[in-house]
Symmetry: C2
Subunit: 139 residues, 2 copies
DNA sequence: TAAAATTTGTGCGTATGTATT
DNA sequence: AAATACATACGCACAAATTTT
């Protein structure tokens, strides 16, 4: 059963709730594509306000674990197909969060997915991290 | 001067406000290390509620642009010193958001900084993206 | 030392709007 | 048209951390 959250704990309620759901995703209890209960439902289940549930889900969106569709609900994100990108070198690689423009251009979920920045041949490539795996071949 | 936000625009107020501040950071009008006005002050300046300012700053934290210290204020993030990590290959590189555990272990700001995951020699290294630059040497 | 003021964090409620079913 | 569900915006109260007096 779901043990209740602890209002007197050091950790705030919305983080406790995020921890619960994150753990259920990690263990596969909530598999990719699964729809979470509604905000109102979760609020009832855990005995907190709707705003608190919103905060918890915002946290998980920020970690790239779920996606929320307005008027529909929140879903555990499917593992995206990763394109293998070969980096021969010499090159430099960094990672950072995308700008809002890049989010649109790369078709990223609203939040929570970083980009890979590859500098090679004097030019810069910005790649969506959820659909990219860099391959560094043997020397 | 700061032109007011538009409550009737398609874009929500907190995103409009985030856009303003992001632009000021980008242009250098708000340089690294600079302290932002307080929530209450920003709310007055832009004619919105404090909660709306909170949402806007949460957005910017999620983008890794600012850091907020409780009881003190929000600051434009300094550019961190980057350690050059050489990846000889063969190897694979991915990027993702850190778990809360990794955030603590790597000393990352509360939100908004991804990690680089390097698979090399059959083992996995998790590196803080704000302090790491991968170097792929010439073949 | 102590107290007060400032500032952010958390939690909840309410109202309204928008998207989907 | 109606019900459901999420998004936005604001206000209030209290807690916690820090800074100033």
């Amino acid at each position: 059963m779901t043990s209740p959250l602890d209002p007197n704990a050091d950790r705030p309620l919305f983080k406790q709730l995020a921890d619960r759901v994150r753990e259920q995703i990690r263990t596969g209890e909530l598999p990719p594509g699964h729809k979470l209960p509604s905000l109102h439902r979760l609020a009832d289940m855990y005995g907190v306000g709707v705003a608190t549930v919103e905060d918890a889900l915002a946290q998980l969106r920020g970690e790239g674990l779920i996606e929320t569709r307005k008027g529909v609900g929140s879903f555990v994100l499917e593992e995206a197909e990763r394109r293998l990108v070969t980096v021969e070198g010499p090159a430099f690689v960094e990672a950072r969060m995308p700008t809002p423009d890049e989010q649109r251009e790369l078709g990223l979920p609203a939040q929570g997915v970083p980009v890979l920045v590859v500098e090679e041949d004097g030019q810069e490539k910005v790649l969506p991290a959820n659909r990219t795996r860099l391959e560094i071949p043997p020397r």
